[in-house]
Amino acid sequence: MIPALERHVIEEWLLERRVTRFFHDEAELLTARRFREWEALLAEDLSYRVPVRETLVPGQGSEHSEEMFHFDENRRTMRMRIDRFEGTAAWAENPPSRCRYFVSNIRAERRPDGLVGVRSELLFTRLRRSLTDYEMLTGERHDVLRDRGESFELVERTVLLDNTTLPTRNLAFFL
């Protein structure tokens, strides 16, 4: 017999489950460098940001800069970047890196405006060629998704990194 489950419990659960699935599918696309398919997940009004982090005096403002970013993209610049990857002259990633996205601690909630806010933890690893030392980044994603019924689209992503100086030779990937 089924215990009485409240509606909001079921709805929250369904939402989180769909969001989790969305993130896992997204990670697969990025890992497989299927950038065109990934692009299809991006909203027209996308804002994609990875702020530069500094070590500051406690109390003197956020360590995540609001002025300077590693990425500060809109839909159009995203397309440029993807065009480049899909073109024949993106030497930096030829042969491609092996990027992997361990997304965990996913928590989603529907906001009053109908959008879905998601907070998750990201462990990102990258290996190139025959190197044995990983490039690794850690941080948290603050995402806003628009519910499209069947799936979601990414409206806003802010990745707050733990890293001030990046141990990656470049950012020829997305976070």
């Binding site: 530069v52 500051l56 159009r76 610049t77 480049r84 100086t165 990046l166 030779r169 950012l171």
Partner: protein
């Protein structure tokens, strides 16, 4: 400052390198060698003037940034008297690090170990139990240790650990005549927009410097993808030899700089007011160069410069949104971390009194093109890295690179009647500046300070 010894074997290797470089070849091992790195630390970065900060990063009393000269931590701070000073970031008692932050504003610094305190002018202002345990310490002798020399020129803060070398004006020399093209587009001068991006690459600071000094050759090939996606305001033809983007190279003081041709009425997307402001701050000769200095008599735009040893600046624009060209200016420092390894510190500079929207557009154009995620910068990283990787290997290190581009007509390239200071060349497609850079580098490693660096003599290929 004292220097460590250099053994005979190493001196021989460097002398051999010198001969090769003069002859148009670079032995690859110099880009990844522990002995070279040791000498760079001990003989070069202790004696050259090195860029530290921009004064716009230090707006208030007590504003500070912590920066590094090679591996040495330096506190750059504006004192309560308004003056900018530079100190070793180290307590004078037992040597603990004094300031643990990248940036901020503090009027006093308290050491975490025994609580000695220093003010924003570096003075030792508190020593616990002073009377009881030191009998009244000599505070004047134990203030923070200033860099031997430091100076601000057109907003740029430089420091030098050697008290015996000539001052900043002699060091920068003729370059100071050209610097206003970058700094005077606005009455308020330049400002650093936000903190710098920083990242670490397994590549040598010299190969990166050489690229910014004089590698017009790689642009149309290594960076073809950014032409492909419509980002850059040049055609491949512009970037080819003889093209408008590759007109003038100037060697001036401790710097190399590149001028490109600009069609009348344009200035890389900078608004006309800025060009007016710039023009009004220049002397007649400078204005002439600005408006008619190109080989064809068109105006010029200073596209990039490099100040020895490791400061580069790139000033260009990109088409990011709605067909408008957005200009940006990036200052970048190639900080050595070890053999074949550096940290890149990349700043965006904007005109301080420009509207916010201008700055943000500039930021977007910069981010898409250069910096940690920049589409052009990505490719450079891989090329530089593989060169340095080869340099470390026993076989690859012995390979002599070929730097004789246009050395068969080097004399022809010199512009005899150049109106500005320094030496101007009629092309950016030549390897002479790279040779000059490396000879200057060798002059530090092999002892002489800022010794006259003869330009290399070559034989035709």
């Amino acid at each position: 400052m004292q220097r460590t010894d250099i053994d005979a074997g190493l001196a021989d290797r460097l002398r051999e390198a010198e001969h090769k470089i003069r002859d148009g070849f670079i032995p690859t091992w110099i880009y990844n060698d522990p002995d070279v790195y040791r000498l760079e630390r001990e003989r070069l970065f202790t004696r050259a003037w090195v860029y530290l900060a921009h004064e716009s990063e230090l707006p208030h009393d007590g504003s500070f940034v912590v920066r590094e000269i090679a591996d040495t931590s330096v506190l750059v701070i504006r004192g309560s008297d308004g003056e900018i000073r530079t100190f070793l970031n180290q307590c004078t008692h037992r040597g603990a690090e004094l300031c643990q932050y990248d940036r901020g504003r503090l009027s006093r610094f308290r050491c975490n170990y025994h609580a000695w305190q220093f003010n924003d002018r570096g003075q030792l202002i508190a020593v616990p139990f002073d009377k009881e345990v030191y009998g009244g310490i000599d505070r004047a002798a134990l203030g923070l240790i200033p860099l031997a020399q430091s100076a601000v020129r057109q907003g740029f803060v430089f420091g030098c650990m050697d008290p015996g070398v000539p001052g900043i004006d002699e060091y920068l020399g003729d370059f100071l005549w050209y610097l206003p093209y970058a700094t005077r587009r606005s009455a308020a001068g330049l400002e650093v927009f936000g903190p710098p991006q920083r990242w670490v690459v397994d590549a040598d600071w010299k190969i990166a410097s050489e690229n910014l000094i004089a590698d017009s050759y790689h642009t149309p090939f290594a960076h073809r993808s950014i032409f492909d996606v419509g980002l850059v305001p040049f055609s491949p033809t512009d970037a080819a030899p003889g093209g408008s983007k590759t007109g003038l190279h100037i060697r001036a003081g401790a710097a190399d700089l590149a001028m490109i041709e600009r069609p009348a009425g344009t200035y890389m997307g900078y608004p006309p007011e800025m060009v007016d402001t710039l023009r009004s701050g220049l002397d007649d000769a400078q204005v002439r160069l600005l408006d008619h200095g190109s080989l064809s008599g068109n105006g010029t735009f200073m596209n990039r410069f490099h100040v020895f040893p490791n400061l580069s600046c790139l000033n260009v624009g990109g088409f990011v949104d709605d067909g408008r060209l957005d200009p940006y200016m990036s200052l970048r420092q190639w900080r050595p971390l070890g053999p074949g390894r550096m940290e890149i510190i990349s700043y965006l500079l904007v005109e301080a009194d420009a509207p916010r929207e201008f700055k943000e557009r500039s930021r977007r154009a910069y981010l898409v093109s250069f910096g940690s995620s920049g589409m052009a910068e990505q490719d450079d990283m891989e090329n530089w890295r593989t060169i340095c990787d080869a340099g470390r290997s026993v076989g690859g290190g012995r390979v002599d690179q070929y730097v004789r581009m246009n050395s068969h007509r080097e004399a022809d390239l010199v512009l005899a009647d150049w109106a500005g200071p320094g030496t101007a060349y009629a092309s950016q497609y030549f390897d002479l500046p790279v040779q000059g850079f490396l000879l200057r580098w060798l002059s530090y490693l092999l002892d002489g300070v800022n010794a006259d660096v003869d330009l290399p003599r070559r034989v035709p290929t």
